[in-house]
């Protein structure tokens, strides 16, 4: 079970993030998770949204965009929760390219993490076997 992430190439210049997120606002698209990775010259804006198709259609005309399948995992929001999940992945030989947290809180004691790994299938299997709950695209829109 994976969710679709939009990655947008953005040059480092004032107003760029505001313009891109503004486009989504106009379309009524809700941002469920966001992160920015940046270098000296450019950045990559990564997004998970309530409506991937409309976000993609508006971004396509204005930026370079790709769609990647990533994992949205519910983690326990307590000391050691993160370490336990990383341990699970490490033991299954899965490497994490990057990760960030989503805005949504399924419950008081839980957090939602977005994971980009080198092998989605194996990661889903390992995490599910270890008792983790993964969110679907619909969950991301609803919660």
């Amino acid at each position: 079970m994976t969710v679709k992430q939009l990655s947008v190439f953005a040059q480092n210049k004032p107003g760029r993030l505001s313009a891109l997120t503004g486009l989504l606002a106009q379309k009524g698209v809700n941002i469920r998770a966001i992160s920015v990775a940046d270098t000296k010259d450019f950045g990559i804006l990564r997004l998970i949204v309530s409506d991937t198709d409309s976000a993609l259609s508006v971004l396509k005309d204005n930026a370079v965009v790709t769609v990647t399948n990533v994992l949205a995992v519910i983690a326990e929001d307590k000391p050691g929760g993160m370490a336990k999940m990383m341990q699970t992945l490490y033991e299954s030989n899965i490497s994490v390219e990057y990760m960030y947290s989503a805005f949504l809180n399924p419950s008081e004691s839980n957090a939602c993490l977005i994971l980009r790994v080198d092998n989605n299938e194996d990661a889903v299997e390992a995490l599910t076997a270890a008792g983790y709950k993964l969110l679907s695209q619909e969950d991301m829109a609803k919660i």
């Binding site: 990655s7 190439f9 990559i44 990564r46 396509k60 965009v65 790709t66 390219e97 990057y98």
Partner: protein, 435 residues
């Protein structure tokens, strides 16, 4: 199958060719001096009289003509025969300023057709062939130029012109076209369309293609050859000297033979005008020695290339020119190295699979030139990680350094962020000239 169209000329020894050229040149200089007041004035100003030109070795004494001279003499200031002797005109595409108009007598057309017939024969064409002409017809020389040559050889000629690609492909199937003539970019597009229609090269009977009128790379040749299942031949020409067929490629595909019984080629230093020895890279200059109506002497093409003599494996002795490597007015000197935007395009085409929009920015910090290439990123070249982008920048940088010998800073930028003027991208910004 005949290998040559005019075997005696195409395989003539150098001394005989030089004698033939000399005789024609002497006659041509007299004709131009007597009938083109503008060129007579240029010769007088330079202190050269027709009597000073006794053969090819005296060619360097003559003044040059450039595109600006053609513009200044628009429409018929350089015409050397009465208009009543002319049977046709063609014109350059002239994206900037006025077009240049070239006039032709019946004999001029016949000689031109003959030059194209040599090109078609070199591409394996005989009267048994069905020549599919998808060049545009009209003022542009491509369509009617190949058309005339195809007639001359006696091929069944399909004057399809450009556009309506699916209909073109239908014709190719129904009439069993064997030789396709068009621009290389259109040939590539036909190739893609064939694949989109679910057809393969085996569904067509094409064996060869003769492509010209725009720059194309070796990578593009290979991709066209694959997609159409043909051997692709280059053809060179310019409206000012007649049209396609000034030079043509043989089966060796490593340079184009110049029809030097009609056009004397020279390579000059674009800055000084000095004639350079064989094998040097410089600007190509043509002297038309058989044209009656529009005989340009020492016309500067602005194309940069190299001439090589010596018998080709195909048996022809006609001098060979390399594919133009760029335009003399496009050339940049960065850190002492000659750089042509076309070289950069070659790298981008190879690494991106298509030519993205790009811009070269040259500046000077202190006494050192800086060299940056901005390239617009496209969706299919973009991954979701920083490292994929950095890897692409690194690869482009290494490939540019390999081809130019100097390092460029590569900056990948967002689409549409490089300014365009009148729909065309501004390829070069040389800030060194602004100070």
């Amino acid at each position: 199958m005949a290998k040559y169209w005019n075997e005696d000329i195409e395989t003539m020894d150098y001394e005989s060719m030089k004698a033939l050229q000399s005789e024609r040149l002497v006659r041509q200089v007299r004709h131009v001096y007597d009938h083109v007041p503008y060129y007579r004035k240029l010769m007088d100003e330079k202190g050269v009289s027709p009597d000073d030109i006794k053969g090819v070795d005296d060619l360097y004494k003559l003044p040059f003509l450039s595109k600006a001279d053609l513009r200044d003499n628009y429409p018929d200031g350089l015409l050397a025969v009465p208009k009543s002797e002319c049977v046709r005109i063609h014109a350059t595409s002239g994206t900037t300023g006025k077009r240049a108009i070239a006039f032709y007598t019946a004999k001029d057309i016949d000689i031109w057709d003959n030059c194209v017939a040599r090109a078609i024969t070199a591409a394996g064409g005989t009267k048994e062939d069905v020549v599919h002409i998808a060049y545009g017809y009209g003022l542009f020389t491509g369509g009617l130029g190949l058309h005339g040559g195809s007639h001359k050889v006696g091929c069944l000629t399909l004057p399809v012109s450009s556009g309506n690609t699916e209909r073109q492909i239908q014709f190719m199937q129904d009439l069993k076209s064997t030789i396709l003539c068009c621009t290389p970019s259109y040939a590539a597009y036909i190739g893609e369309t064939i694949a989109d229609m679910g057809l393969s090269p085996d569904d067509l009977t094409l064996k060869a293609g003769i492509f010209g009128a725009e720059p194309w790379t070796e990578e593009m040749r290979q991709s066209i050859e694959r997609s159409l299942g043909i051997k692709a031949y280059d053809i060179y020409g310019l409206t000012e000297t007649s049209g396609p067929g000034v030079a043509f490629e043989c089966e060796c595909q490593n340079g184009m033979h110049i029809n030097e019984d009609n056009f004397i080629a020279e390579i000059i230093d674009p800055d000084t005008g000095e004639v350079l020895p064989e094998g040097s890279k410089g600007e190509l200059v043509f002297t038309s020695i058989t044209k009656e109506a529009f005989p340009l002497l020492r016309y500067r093409t602005r194309d940069i290339c190299i001439l090589t003599r010596g018998k080709c494996a195909c048996g022809r002795t006609l001098v060979k020119m390399t594919k133009p490597m760029g335009r003399s007015d496009d050339m940049l000197i960065i850190k002492g190295v000659n750089v042509f935007p076309s070289q950069i395009e070659t790298v981008l085409l190879r690494d991106f699979g298509a030519t993205p929009n790009y811009q070269i920015i040259v500046d000077r910090v202190g006494t050192t030139d800086t060299f940056e290439i901005k390239v617009e990123l496209s969706d299919d070249m973009f991954g979701d990680t920083i490292k994929t982008i950095e890897a692409l920048e690194k690869k482009l940088s290494a490939d540019i350094q390999q081809i130019l010998g100097i390092r460029a800073k590569i900056s990948l930028v967002e689409p549409k962020s490089i300014p365009r003027s009148e729909g065309k991208a501004v390829r070069v910004i040389d800030k060194r000239k602004l100070v």
